[in-house]
């Protein structure tokens, strides 16, 4: 049996949202908030943002070539609109929860929730995403994702603010495959909250040299983090067996995993090295005789 239904208000336009968020929580896909509410989180009123979708394109390209993605549309609609663009983001959505959840969940909700394990955040971080936040006066402020993430469950979003769109700069586009991807480790293929996750993107020169190297890992620190030690090793280099070994070792400096109900810190460190190897096209792990 469920708790007493909250009051639900459904503003028809962005201007109507202003003021309502003072007394209620923003809801859109609802796939996180309604689970929290059912578990007992007090929510007096919910302010539904789904009607505002009508005034926001799922995806638009700015004059500068940036991609502006709706934070309010379901993830499946976002990936359909993206076509071949933004491989790391599309690969993360492909393994996000389940079809029924992807048909409802939004980028805005995944960002606002502030989970270090949120699956769309590592790809958005490597893509240099900027979060377009609507302020109570009806204006917007652009927050680079790296600044937006503050800690577990904490993001730079005041109570009366909401996320309208996410902008990917033109400079992050066009890496294509195999220059980008996403991998996660979870308890099973569907509906799993990641034990850890890795998104990556780089450009591959004709001779195989990597440039614009970016990697971000989820669920290994209080927020999703860029792997700067790994990035510095790989930038301008030609991956070979020695470099891949070095990169897999370097990830240790970039992460601060903890033991929690999903996985131990030690397991996360081993998996982190394995995911970096996989991103570089190597087998995740060469088992030693003792481990077989």
């Amino acid at each position: 049996m469920s708790a007493t239904p909250p009051t639900l208000l459904r503003p028809a336009s962005a201007t109507d949202v202003t003021g309502l968020l003072r007394d209620g929580r923003a809801i859109c896909g609802g796939t996180d908030l309604l689970v929290q509410w059912r578990a007992g989180a007090p929510v007096a009123a919910m302010i539904d943002l789904t009607a505002i979708r009508a005034s926001i394109p799922v995806l638009e390209e700015t004059a500068a070539g940036d991609l502006r993605i709706s934070a309010l549309h379901p993830l499946t609609e976002v990936t359909s609109a993206l076509g071949e663009e933004l491989v790391p983001l599309r690969e993360s959505v492909a393994v996000f929860a389940s079809t029924t959840i992807r048909n409802r969940a939004t980028l805005g909700g995944n960002l606002a929730n502030g989970s270090p394990a949120a699956d769309t955040v590592p790809p958005l971080l490597v893509l240099g995403a900027v979060i377009d936040v609507v302020t109570p006066d009806g204006g917007t402020r652009a927050v680079p994702l790296a600044d937006f993430l503050l800690g577990p469950g904490r993001v730079q979003l005041d109570e009366q603010e909401w996320i309208r769109t996410v902008t990917i700069p033109a400079s992050a586009r066009g890496c294509g495959r195999p220059g980008g991807g996403f991998r996660k480790i979870g308890g099973r293929a569907a509906q799993a909250i990641s034990f850890l996750s890795l998104a990556w993107q780089w450009r591959v020169a004709a001779d195989g040299t990597l440039t614009d190297v970016r990697l971000a890992m989820g669920a290994v620190a209080p927020t999703v983090v860029r792997l700067t030690a790994v990035e510095n090793l790989l930038e301008g280099s030609l991956p070979g067996p020695d470099l891949i070994d070095a990169a897999a070792a370097a990830v240790d400096e970039d992460i601060r995993p903890i033991d929690d109900l999903r996985a131990s810190a030690a397991y996360r460190r081993r998996c982190a090295a394995g995911l970096v190897r996989e991103a570089l096209g190597a087998p995740a792990h060469h088992a030693t005789r003792d481990e077989r």
């Binding site: 239904p5 689970v35 919910m46 539904d48 789904t50 389940s98 029924t100 048909n103 409802r104 293929a189």
Partner: protein, 157 residues
């Protein structure tokens, strides 16, 4: 909203914060959608909203007042009789609790992809848990239904 093809106006405001699952079962008498986990993980409450399979335990009524909603009770009228018959013929049903949700996920897939392969069916069902029977029978039933719908459409053309 339009529920199984029937227009429903004037849903009272006090019901807007109700879960769609509760609204269907208690206010509309449509008990096909079942509550399993109540948190979007098991899929037994799956319905189709504007063509997309979603878990009705994570949708509030006020969010879908302008939407087209289909429950298992409306499947046959929406042309999915062959799918339901194929589930029976393939003995794909045991306890039945998950089946309304499974059928809705399969029907939404067939509406989008008339001739899905196993991988597409597997993905469409990744949010539907069944602990009785073999998922293989679901795949077989969906292939049968796709085949029958193709034959029907060819016959009508």
């Amino acid at each position: 909203m339009r529920l199984n093809g029937i227009e429903i106006d004037n849903v009272p405001a006090e019901l807007h914060g109700m879960r769609l699952l509760d609204y269907l079962r208690t206010e509309r008498g449509l008990t096909g959608a079942k509550e399993g986990c109540g948190m979007g993980e098991c899929g037994s409450c799956t319905v189709v909203i504007d063509g997309a399979a979603v878990t009705s335990c994570l949708v509030l009524v006020g969010q879908v007042l302008d939407a087209e909603i289909r429950t298992v009770e409306g499947l046959a009228d929406a042309g999915h009789g062959p799918l339901q018959r194929a589930f029976v013929a393939r003995q794909a049903v045991q306890c039945g609790y998950c089946i309304p949700g499974v059928l809705n996920s399969c029907a939404a897939l067939l509406d989008r992809v008339p001739d899905p392969d196993d991988e597409q069916i597997r993905t469409a069902l990744d949010g539907n848990l069944c602990r009785c029977t073999a998922y293989n029978r679901f795949y077989d039933a969906v292939h049968d239904a796709a085949c029958e719908r193709r034959t029907d459409q060819a016959g009508q053309a």
